[in-house]
């Protein structure tokens, strides 16, 4: 082959070769087809473990009962039994080790999530006891009178 043809050919081979070499270093070892086929399973395998290691924040009632047995018992015997502790108290994360006090949501708006009457016939919202937000103790927080751990009781 003539010299003027060979020169650009070497350049092209050099570029392709350097890309292939760079690829060996840049693409992780565990990148490949791991799922059922190329279309749905072409990925980095270690990413599954990375997602599994994501931090858990909501710990659940079983975690709260370890220390706050009394409050959980009170809640369990009240109509608010289905409401999770962390819905109002915020996620426990690693309480009490790092987060000493949980931020409690005592606002009127928080109670209204379930207890604002919307007049929706045949909807589940109609079955929860509801108030007319514009009429009922307009500017006060619900917890000033009602006991959230047992809504059948009232504060003095």
């Amino acid at each position: 082959m003539k010299w003027h043809v060979l020169r650009p050919l070497w350049v092209a081979i050099g570029i392709v070769g350097s890309i292939l070499i760079a690829r060996v270093f840049l693409v992780p070892d565990d990148f490949g087809i791991h799922g059922r086929n190329f279309t749905y399973g072409f990925h980095r395998l270690s990413n599954i473990q990375e997602w599994k290691d994501f931090q858990v924040k909501y710990q659940g009632r079983e975690y709260c009962v370890e220390c706050h047995d009394e409050k959980v018992q009170m809640l369990n015997q009240s109509p608010h039994e289905p409401v999770e502790c962390e819905n109002c108290h915020g996620p426990a994360v690693n309480h009490p080790d790092e987060i000493e006090m949980l931020p409690i949501d005592r606002t009127r708006e928080h109670c209204l999530r379930c207890h604002a009457q919307l007049n929706y016939p045949h909807s589940a919202r109609d079955q929860a006891p509801g108030i007319n937000n514009r009429m009922h103790s307009r500017r006060r927080d619900c917890v000033e009178c009602h006991v959230p751990h047992d809504p059948r009781e009232y504060k003095e």
Binding site: F31, H34, G35, R36, T39, Y40, G41, F42, H43, R44, N47, I48, E50, W51, K52, D53, F54, Q55, V56, K57, Y58, G60, P82, V83, E84, E86, N87, G90, P91, E109, L112, R113, C114, A116, L118, N119, Y120, P121, H122, S123, A124, R125, Q127, A128, N133
Partner: protein
């Protein structure tokens, strides 16, 4: 060196056989590895939403955003709750302010007052990723950053995602969004970090009305799987052929 015809044929056949054996045939699994592989194959996560018991409190949305570190004030969310109000004139009023994060405490819909006597029916529909069997979002990813795991959940590799947004356009359910701080595509993964530890997803845990439940379709004794198999359930946008795995009880034709 001499070589008879018989020897040549013997060696040729033997050599062909050896070279046709793939290297993977020599990988031996330990007992634990084999057991783990079998156990992993026996999981297919699915979800059951009961629209008849959802009250639209939005605590699932709040829990999801906190659990999965989605910026709380940003108008993006992995799960959301839609309100449908069908009036007597045949109109359907739909809204989902901030994805229903703060619940539905006002009867106004998009600043429109609706006369309660004029309402035929009203209900709430929670939505989340359908973890499809044929996920369109995975097919379009140009870099292999999103994929389906062996238990059916579609995950996104945050290190590998280039943020091109093809998957956000491809999802027929509008589940994917661009994460404002991680700068990658994001979506619900059934709280993969929780379900792989035997916990419930955050939205399921925080639902006071049993409207959201997780199922393992490969386990016939799973109570939620029994409901999906024996009761009348529907999926969203079946016509797209994506084979969604979030099943709905009491799905109305007004839901889209």
């Amino acid at each position: 060196m001499t070589c008879s015809r018989r020897d040549f044929l013997k060696e040729a056949v033997g050599g062909t056989l050896v070279s046709s054996l793939p290297l993977s045939a020599f990988v031996f699994l330990t007992t634990e590895e084999a057991e783990a592989a079998i156990a992993e194959a026996k999981v297919r996560w699915a979800f059951l939403v009961d629209t008849t018991t959802c009250t639209g409190c939005g605590l699932c949305v709040k829990a999801c955003k906190t659990e999965n570190e989605i910026p709380y004030e940003a108008p993006v969310t992995r799960t959301w709750v839609e309100r449908y109000v069908v009036t007597k004139d045949g109109q359907t009023h739909i809204d989902s302010p901030l994805g229903g994060r703060d619940g539905f405490i006002d009867d106004k819909i998009r600043d429109e007052e609706i006369d309660p006597d004029n309402i035929d029916k009203a209900f709430f529909v929670p939505k989340l990723c359908n973890q499809c069997d044929n996920p369109a979002c995975v097919q379009v990813c140009p870099v292999g950053a999103t994929y389906q795991t062996h238990d059916g959940v579609v995950l996104i590799d945050r290190e590998w995602c280039i943020g091109c947004g093809y998957c956000i356009m491809a999802c027929p359910y509008g589940v994917r969004f661009f994460h404002p701080t991680a700068k990658v595509a994001d979506k619900c993964n059934f709280c993969y970090h929780r379900i792989s530890k035997g916990m419930q997803p955050a939205c399921v845990e925080c639902c006071s009305f049993g409207a959201r439940r997780l199922a393992n379709l490969e386990d016939p004794d799973d109570p939620v799987t029994k409901i999906i198999r024996t009761e009348r359930v529907a999926v969203l946008k079946d016509e797209y052929g994506t084979k969604p795995h979030v099943f709905y009880i009491g799905l109305d034709e007004a839901v889209r």
